[in-house]
Each structure stands twice: as C-alpha cells, then as structure tokens.
C-alpha cells in the first residue's frame, strides 16, 4: 500500500545523498584553490615557485588566445592516445598468443617478469638513439610503459576463465579459436577494461617523460621549459591541463566500459 510513497521517499534520499556528496566535492576544490591563492598572496608560500591560481588561469587564457597552447595540447594528446592504443592492443595480442601457445607462455615467463620489473623510463635514451629525437620515441615510450602490464594482466584473466564454459564449447567440438572468441575473450572483457583504465595513467607518464627527454613541443616540453626559464606559472598551468585531459580520457574509457559490459 505504502509502496509508491516509500519509493518516492527512497528516491528523495538518494537525490539528497548525491547532492551532499557533490557539495563536498565542490567545496574541497574551491577550498584548495582559495587556500593556494591566499597562501600565495600573503607569501606563506613563495609565489615565484608555487605561482597562484589566478596567475595560472590567466596564463592559460592568454596562451589559449595566442594559439600556441592548443598545438602543444594537440601534440601531447595525440602521442598519449597513440601510445595508449598501441600499448593496449599489442598487450592484448601478445596475451592471446601466450594463451594459444602454452609452451610459448612457459618459455616467455622469465622475460616478462624481468621486463615488467624493469623501470621502463630507463629505456628512454635507448629509444631516442634507436628512433630519433621525435614523436616516434615519445609514442614508443607511452607504448612500452603500458604493454607489459597489459600483457600480464590480460593473460592472467584469460587463464582464469571458468573451464566449464570451455567444456560446453568443446562438447560442440569447438576449435581453440572458437573457444577464444566465444568464451575466453568476452569473459575477460571486464579485466581488459580495467587495464585500459590503468593504461590511461601509464601512457601519460610515458609521454610526459618522453617529452622531458627530447621534444620541442607538447605539455611535457612546456613543463621542462618553464622549469628552465623559472616560469613556474607555466609549469603549474601545464599540470592543470594534464590533470583535466587525463580525467577526460579516463571518463571516456569509463563510457566505453558501460557500452561494452552489460551490468
């Protein structure tokens, strides 16, 4: 009898909860910037080193108007997305190969472990020597930093698929490829998506470090340049932009997740 009434109440409660959470989230954001601004104005922190939100945003604004910032953003974004895509796709392909050839997986095991444990950014100089000081090295850095983790995580997910699904398929005399296509891959999709999320962060690391090392353009270059000419407003501006872009990329992956996985 009271069903609809109670349901309405429940919905109200949900809305109220969402509102409270959002209020807190916004408050923290505003408080952070306010604190930063005040601290800078009153010289609690050195404004020369830590800049201030007002300077950061006016710097971003003027550079946007002038047009130079946009090309930096474009380049970094392109490099990151390419590194991310190539790293993820290659990782999935390698994992599939490891799954299909059992002996290959056993042979490769120690190499994967070593390569995974190794700090990939240490390979930077070698990449530059091999691929030249340009986009290619930077994209390779974004790729190399995510590919091994993807391989290991996805391969583990492939192996964790319930054997009984494969038994069902084998009772219909499915080939290995059919087993992969019909059961192993779709069952591993949630794990694959979660590596995508990790890889968003990783490929940003790879690309920014890559830009530190070689580039003449991009957000990583702006950070290093700002550091060298002691323009910390520029450094902070780049950081703010990277934070926003990385968040957008992460949210995009989340949207893709919702499209791919039926809840």
């Amino acid at each position: 009898m009271n069903g609809p009434k109670l349901f309405a109440l429940y919905q109200q409660k949900l809305k109220k909860e969402a509102k409270i959470v959002l209020t807190w989230q916004l408050s923290i954001l505003i408080l952070f910037f306010a604190l930063w601004e005040t601290a800078s104005r009153f010289y609690w922190i050195d404004p020369l080193l830590f800049s201030s939100p007002s300077r950061v945003f006016s710097s971003i604004w003027s550079r946007l108007l002038e047009g130079s910032l946009l090309s930096h953003i474009q380049i970094t974004l392109l490099e990151t997305i390419l590194g991310f895509l190539i790293g993820t796709i290659a990782g999935i392909i390698i994992a599939s190969m490891l799954w299909s050839f059992h002996r290959f997986a056993k042979v490769m095991d120690p190499y994967l472990v070593v390569f995974n444990a190794m700090p990939k950014v240490a390979l930077g100089p070698i990449l530059i020597v091999a691929l030249g000081p340009g986009y290619l090295s930077i994209i390779a850095m974004g790729f190399i930093i995510s590919v091994i983790v993807t391989t290991l995580v996805v391969f583990a997910a492939f192996n964790e698929v319930d054997q009984n699904y494969l038994k069902v398929l084998r009772s219909f005399e499915a080939t290995k490829w059919q087993c992969f296509k019909e059961a192993v891959f779709p069952a591993s999709l949630p794990a694959i998506i979660s590596t995508l999320k990790v890889n968003v962060g990783l490929s940003w690391v790879g690309v920014i470090v890559g830009e530190y090392l070689v580039s003449k353009q991009g957000l990583g270059y702006l950070i290093i340049y700002g550091f060298q000419v002691f323009d910390f407003t520029l450094v902070m501006s780049s950081l703010v932009i990277i934070a926003i872009l990385a968040a957008i990329m992460y949210k995009t992956v989340e949207k893709i997740e919702q499209m791919l996985i039926r809840k």
Binding site: N164, S171, F172, E182, A183, P186, R262
Partner: protein, 268 residues
C-alpha cells in the same frame, strides 16, 4: 544389442610427484534409447568417465566403442549437460541456445524457429531476447537443456544437471527431461549422487566405488518404475525397496573407503 560399449577402460591423473588411478577397469555397455545412471560418492571418477565418453579425454587404457567402432573420429553427436547451466552471460538466450550449431557452422534457416519452439515446449515463452541473469535457476537449466538438444545428439551425457537446483525445481526438471528423452528417443547417461534421482529416472543403475573409480554393482530398475514418470515412480513400493538396497550397499562401501579428498578426481 549394445550401442555404446566401454571395454576395460582405465584412466590416470598425473601430478608432479605422483599419479592417481581415477578409473579402474570399467566395462559396461549401453543399449540404444537406454537411460543409465552412474551413482557413487564424489571422487569415484564419474565426471571423468563422462569426459572420456564425450571424447574430450582419451582413455589411458581400454576402448570406448560406438556400434562396434572406436569413438574417436566418429561423427557421433554427443550432448553434454553440466552441473550448472553455464549459459554465457553476455549472450541472450537464443544466441546461447544456438551456440552449438553456430560452432559447427550449421545454421539452417528454420533453426531459430525450432529453437523457439523447443524453448516453448519446456515452458520458456518469450525469453529469446532475455539474458541469463534475468532467468531463475530452473529456467536457465531448461535453456541449457535446449542448447544441448538443438544439435540433435544421439547420446546425452548428464553430469549432475539437477544438483544445483532446489528440490521442487529439480523434480519438475527430472520429469521434463525424462519426457523429452522418451519423446525424442535418446540414449542417456546420468551422473548423480542422488539415489532417488537415479532410481526414478533410469533403466539401469551402475553403482561405483571410489579410489580408484570402479564398478561395484549394477541394478536393473524394475519395469514398473521405468514406465512411470520420475515423480510417480517415487511413490511406487518398488522404489523404496530398491532405494533401501542401494542405500545399504552404499553404506557398507563407505566404511571401507578412505576419507574423501574434496572432488579430487572430478576436476582434472
């Protein structure tokens, strides 16, 4: 006249340090359209036996023959039903049901209609576009049954397909499966640890002992029970007589058997 014959079949499982004999010298034969139950404690290699018959495993020793010919390479259709439905959660029911024909690349035009008709026959109307998680356990197992039947297997292997269901659903499903198998004249081998299920559904019961799995005893189910549906058979006086006999034999066996390792042989 025997249809499926197991001739001195033994099977082993190996681990790094030791081997275990899962099945020891199993011989029996099944007539066409016969319903056989393999009854025994867990660890008696029942599921291994089904995997061998299905051809997913090759027996280490002995032969499995169909119509006197080796089962390998024969194009005999075998249907396999597992303890749980194992419907693919990312496929809707109709795609799940049609997975067998799709894998065998045999999809005549009217197959979808046939699948829907079969689903309706087992009381699943308007579920074709639903996903497995929208269905109850009993409905899912019925859908899994249709998935097995749509490829028109000649032999059905049922690996405790009712054990995960509640009692009422289980009884209903037993009746349904018995009816369907009779109507479509299928040969079936049911693995179970439920004495009542074995008696009420089958023509013959093979009692197995464990460590290693071997045939202990074979019971012929009285004709009166065979002709009844599983539900009615349970009420028949001969049902309880056979039940008691098997119970006593199982009880005796348990005293002589080593403590069970959790499903050690069930999952290779």
């Amino acid at each position: 006249m025997s249809y499926l014959t197991l001739d001195r079949v033994s099977h082993y499982y190996f681990s790094k340090k030791q081997y275990t004999e899962a099945l020891h010298n199993i011989s029996f034969s099944v007539k066409k359209n016969e319903f056989i139950s393999l009854l025994g404690p867990s660890g008696c290699g029942k599921s291994t036996l089904l995997s061998l018959i299905s051809g997913m495993l090759q027996p280490a020793e002995g032969n499995i023959l169909v119509n006197g010919k080796k089962i390998e390479g024969s194009d005999l259709e075998i249907g396999y039903m597992l303890q749980q439905d194992y419907l693919f959660p990312w496929k809707n029911i109709i795609d799940n049901v049609l997975i067998g024909p799709r894998i065998r690349k045999r999809q005549p035009e009217d197959l979808k209609q046939r699948a829907i008709a079969l689903l309706e026959e087992v009381g699943l109307e308007n579920v074709a576009d639903k996903y497995p998680n929208e269905l109850s356990g009993g409905m899912r197992q019925r859908a899994a049954l249709i998935r097995t039947l749509i490829t028109e297997p000649e032999i059905l292997l049922l690996d405790e397909p009712f054990s995960a269901l509640d009692f009422q659903t289980k009884l209903k499903l037993e009746v349904l499966v018995a009816d369907l198998l009779k109507a479509y004249q299928k040969t079936a081998i049911l693995v179970t640890h439920d004495i009542g299920e074995a008696i009420s559904m089958s023509d013959r019961i093979i009692l197995m002992s464990s460590h290693p799995g071997a045939i202990e005893k074979v019971y012929d189910v009285p004709v009166e029970l065979r002709n009844e549906s599983p539900f009615m058979a349970r009420k028949h006086p001969k049902y309880s007589r056979l039940f008691d006999k098997i119970w006593a034999d199982l009880d005796q066996q348990k005293d002589t058997v080593k403590p069970l390792e959790e499903d050690a042989y069930e999952r290779p």
